[in-house]
């Protein structure tokens, strides 16, 4: 596994962050995760501005994106990413509590690559995160940078 391959997790809920990281850690995937806590920070990260202006790492191989976040929400982040020529090649997976049809439809309209509902049951949650991590970090061939 290359150290260059990493995930960007955009999640405002620190308990969810903890659970996600725990799940990834149990499969030795947690070292490759950058966490930002809202949409604004995610865009700063991707555009290397403000707090992230000195970021040297390559762009993530996948962005795990929560939808409901303060300031800039997930759909807005998605819209930004998918309308930016440089960023739109990064796969984005929406990882959210919401099964709302309009969220799902809107996400796909904006060009999301996958939509995953966080299961309430912990075992299933762990499974889902593990699959995601393995798929995007290990099996998926990311776009050439």
């Amino acid at each position: 596994m290359s150290v260059n391959k990493h995930i960007l997790l955009v999640e405002d809920d620190d308990k969810d962050v903890e659970l996600i990281l725990t799940a990834l850690k149990s499969h030795n995937l947690a070292n490759d995760v950058d966490v930002v806590n809202d949409g604004e920070e995610a865009l700063d990260y991707l555009y290397r501005r403000n707090k992230y202006k000195d970021r040297t790492s390559k762009n993530p191989v996948v962005i795990l994106l929560d939808l409901k976040m303060p300031k800039v929400d997930g759909l807005e982040v998605l819209r930004e990413i998918k309308s930016d020529d440089h960023l739109k090649i990064i796969p984005v997976v929406v990882l959210t509590s919401s099964k709302e049809e309009k969220d799902i439809v809107e996400s796909y309209k904006l060009g999301v690559n996958a939509y995953v509902v966080k299961p309430v049951k912990f075992q299933k949650f762990i499974e889902a995160i593990k699959e995601l991590g393995l798929f995007w970090l290990i099996f998926n061939q990311p776009p050439p940078v």
Binding site: D16, L19, K68, S97, E100, V120, F122, F125
Partner: protein, 547 residues
């Protein structure tokens, strides 16, 4: 009429002048210059002509009081040569209604004043009673002392003309009455000069004019039609077009009120001049009613608009609510569930039995809560989703559901009885949900039976019934009819979850879906004696309710 009279008078004068008024009595006194044969020919022709003209002639000798008549006249009078031809005999022929008048006329006007006889009168056939109209003409011959000697004249049968005249008068009366009594204004104009020939009482009433104020004036002089006929040029246009119709035009009354009328005008020919007839209907009341309807409609639309806005707002709130539930309520549950799990892992199963049980309860409760939230969201989503309206083959749908559900029953002993079901219109995926719910329930609540019996059927259709009624019947644990009203409520359960699992959303969904299809749901059952769940679906495709 005058021309006609003249012709007859002329004819008589000619007859006299040419001495052709020959009667048998006077024949010997006449000195003639023609041969007997020529005379006969002329007389024959005369008789012919008299027949054609329905004429007869007579000579009335005042001295003797007797009269002689030609064969044509005898025909008209309906008498023969034996009839007693004196004054009384003539009066006998005169219709009783006119007898007195005619008797006086003869005495006072003819014999006393020596005027010419010229009278139309009614006669009656003394034998048959048949009535006729005749026109009698006669000239007196006076002696040197100006005493009347005799009267010669002709009588013409004018019955047909009289009948035509009577018919004409009757027709005139009829149309006059229509004209007078019409509840439409009628205006008759002379098409040549635009002058008002006649206006019916109703028109005078709605315009508040008198007959005198209108008659003989031109329409542009009066000005009540000024929007159509303000001058002679307008009038000429109307005259040329021949037909004009205005659905709604204003008229001005004599006291400058405006009324709204429907105006139709036709030009037609009477003899050799043109007449314009205008029919004018006062539509003020109708327009008021229309205005009122329009206003009511507008109000209704406004109200519908407001209600729709309110509904939309309520729907928005509901959406926002369920969105928030969807996002925010599930997160803490996930955390409870997740961290309890992590706690278990951390303690490495070193917890005592009691603590372990507590942890399990927390975990299960969180999951159950999650399930409830999911169900609630599904239920609310179902109420908002758009309904399709397609034809659904229930036989196929039921077969598919039964096959799928049976595969999950682990070899239970189940007796299925599935009737042939009619086609319905509805939303296929929603209807599938209804049937899955009902059949799943039937399977669930017959689980304790050695042999589950499940019937899926359709209540035979009665005449004129607007809906098809379906049912799912089982021999399961049933329910206490006392709680029937709770069956279809959201999260209403009649069994403890330890007996039968479930959140209590299934039948609520069934009811919701069926209601949205314009149908009804109900149930019959008794404790331990099975249950039957019914639902109806309207036959009409259009019955599927909009959101």
């Amino acid at each position: 009429m005058k021309d006609e009279n003249k012709t007859k008078e002329l004819l008589i004068e000619e007859l006299i002048a040419e001495r052709l008024w020959i009667s048998e009595i006077e024949k010997p006194e006449i000195e003639y210059h023609r041969t007997e044969k020529a005379l006969q020919e002329i007389e024959d022709r005369l008789i012919e002509l008299q027949k054609v003209a329905k004429l007869g002639h007579y000579v009335f000798s005042i001295k003797t009081g007797y009269w002689a008549s030609s064969a044509g006249l005898d025909d008209i009078f309906g008498i023969d040569e034996n009839y007693k031809k004196d004054v009384a005999g003539w009066l006998q022929i005169v219709h009783p209604d006119s007898r007195k008048t005619m008797s006086n006329y003869l005495q006072d006007v003819i014999l006393s004043q020596h005027q010419k006889f010229d009278k139309e009168y009614k006669i009656i056939n003394p034998k048959t009673g048949q009535e006729k109209w005749v026109h009698g003409l006669g000239n007196l011959k006076l002696d040197d002392n100006s005493n009347p000697i005799e009267m010669v004249g002709i009588i013409q049968d004018i019955t047909e003309r009289k009948r035509a005249e009577e018919a004409m008068i009757a027709s005139e009366v009829r149309y006059r009455r229509l004209f007078e009594a019409a509840k439409d204004g009628i205006l008759i104009l002379n098409a040549d000069d635009g002058k008002i020939v006649d206006a019916n009482p109703f028109l005078l009433k709605i315009l508040d004019y008198s007959h005198e104020q209108m008659l003989g004036k031109t329409v542009w002089e009066l000005g009540f039609l000024k929007d159509i006929i303000s001058n002679q040029d307008n009038f000429e246009e109307l005259r040329q077009k021949g037909y004009v119709r205005y659905e709604d035009m204003p008229l001005e009354t004599s006291d400058s009120r405006r009324i709204d009328v429907e105006f139709v005008s036709n030009v037609y020919q009477v003899n050799n001049h043109k007449v314009i007839q205008c029919n004018i209907r006062d539509i003020t009341e109708r327009k008021k009613a229309e205005e009122k309807i329009k206003k009511l409609n507008e109000e209704l639309e406004q109200r519908v608009f407001e209600r729709t806005a309110q509904l939309e707002a309520a729907n928005k709130e509901l959406e926002a609510f369920s969105y928030s539930v969807s996002h925010d309520l599930r997160a803490p549950l996930r955390h409870i569930s997740g961290f309890v799990e992590l706690l278990q892992q951390n303690t490495n199963n070193s917890l005592d039995e009691k603590s372990s049980r507590y942890i399990n309860v927390i975990s299960e409760s969180a999951q159950r809560m999650g399930q409830l939230i999911d169900d609630l969201l599904d239920f609310s989503r179902m109420g908002r989703a758009e309904l399709q309206s397609n034809s659904i083959d229930l036989n196929k749908l039921v077969a598919k559901i039964v096959t799928e559900l049976t595969s999950e029953t682990n070899g239970r002993n189940i007796e299925w009885k599935i009737d042939s079901l009619p086609e319905i219109y509805g939303d296929p995926s929603m209807m599938q949900l209804v049937l899955v719910n009902l059949v799943t329930n039937a399977l669930k609540f017959t689980r304790t039976r050695k042999k589950s019996k499940i019937v899926i059927g359709c209540v035979p259709r009665k005449n004129n019934e607007k809906e098809a009624v379906f049912f799912v019947r089982d021999n399961g644990v049933g329910f206490n009819p006392q709680y029937t009203h709770k069956l279809f409520g959201v999260f209403q359960r009649l069994h403890r979850k330890e007996e039968f699992e479930g959140t209590g959303i299934g039948l609520a969904n069934v009811r919701h879906i069926i209601h949205r299809h314009g149908g009804r749901t109900w149930a019959e059952g008794a404790l331990d004696k099975g249950a039957t769940f019914y639902f109806s679906i309207p036959h009409l495709k259009s019955a599927v309710k909009e959101k």
